[in-house]
Symmetry: C2
């Protein structure tokens, strides 16, 4: 068994992704595909981010998991619109699943659409969902070697968030090693150190998010 | 794109896995397939475990990663025989890759063969490598919801290690929630709390490993 990167399957996916993108653009939505290993803090990040963007900013979330609706339940308290997508045995979201997710939302009432992908450092990277931006989380407890081991996840990232930064000291984490590996695979991404739990560095992330919106206004 | 659980592919894999198992049994090797998300501490666990088993216990490691030989380099210092298997874009090891790995080892000089699978909570669970035992790591920083979200990984585990247990207090981790979910999907597995970094609980893990060997002697 290999990851099924059958070209025809990916081509069919890309066609749906393009339709998704058109729907997002027509309604002025900025869509961010958030990817990471399981447990890097994607849901906690969104729990903190959506209230911080303010009541004038309308946020929706599509959240992918193999099973359970736990993340949707957590995010239902902060986002106006949340849809859980269960992938069963699928290790990533597909463009078709996102298309169904878009059908479930009132797109005229969305400024930011966050897609929380399935926790996985391999599969989601290969699959275009129609998103405008890709954000990858890497948490300090995962260690210093993950960028070198999973370069395909980090290569297309627009922003890379080093999360759980509050654990750096206790874990004697060497972020210089991480940054060296990132510079080799992606010199373009914005790097943000933060801890959704303590709030450290979160303003940098909010600022980055808000800087992406004006560029969308002209679409 | 879905995980490619095409039945014929898995059947072909299983045939190779059976051959692997026969080779292990013929040479009296106990093989343990270690699985977890990226960064749960598989390599660190082995770095501590192999020296602790004593010089009379001969250990070999097959270690799977998409790219790099970093884990093999780390383990080369502690294990007599280590082979790195690079899977490219593959999110798990296959029985054929393990067969090639077995070819690279002197099987007559191995008591324990540890297979460190690719860091992934989805793909490796579906693929039999011929191993005798499955050990799954779940680290405290990954949070309380991973057993419910990724049940297929935890269902066939013979032992489940709750790692980085030293971070429980700072992260306000609720292990009761984790154990409730485990009891729903797998009431059979031995549960061990440990921290390879601090040494806490590691003796329980070594004892478990050593209890598995006598049962193999009769094969």
């Amino acid at each position: 068994m290999k990851i099924n990167v059958v070209e025809s399957v990916l081509k069919a996916n890309d066609a749906v992704a393009q339709t998704n993108r058109r729907r997002m653009d027509e309604t002025g939505i900025l869509t961010i595909n958030i990817m990471s290993a399981p447990g890097s803090g994607k849901t906690t990040l969104l729990e903190r981010t959506i209230p911080a963007l303010g009541t004038d900013t309308r946020c929706a979330v599509l959240v992918g998991d193999l099973q359970t609706t736990r993340d949707a339940e957590r995010l239902g308290g902060v986002a106006a619109q949340v849809t859980q997508i269960n992938t069963g045995k699928g290790c990533h979201l597909s463009a078709t699943q996102v298309a169904d997710g878009l059908d479930s939302l009132d797109l005229n009432k969305v400024d930011y659409l966050f897609i929380e992908n399935v926790g996985n450092m391999v599969c989601p990277a290969a699959v275009n969902l129609g998103e405008h931006l890709r954000v990858v989380l890497l948490s300090v407890p995962e260690g210093e070697d993950k960028v070198a081991k999973y370069p395909t996840l980090f290569q297309p990232a627009d922003a890379i968030l080093l999360t759980k930064i509050d654990l750096s000291t206790v874990l004697e984490h060497n972020k210089t090693k991480v940054y060296e590996d990132i510079s080799r695979v992606n010199s373009r991404a914005t790097l943000i150190e933060c801890s959704p739990r303590t709030g450290a560095g979160m303003q940098d992330w909010y600022d980055w998010l808000q800087r992406q919106r004006p560029e969308r206004a002209g679409d």
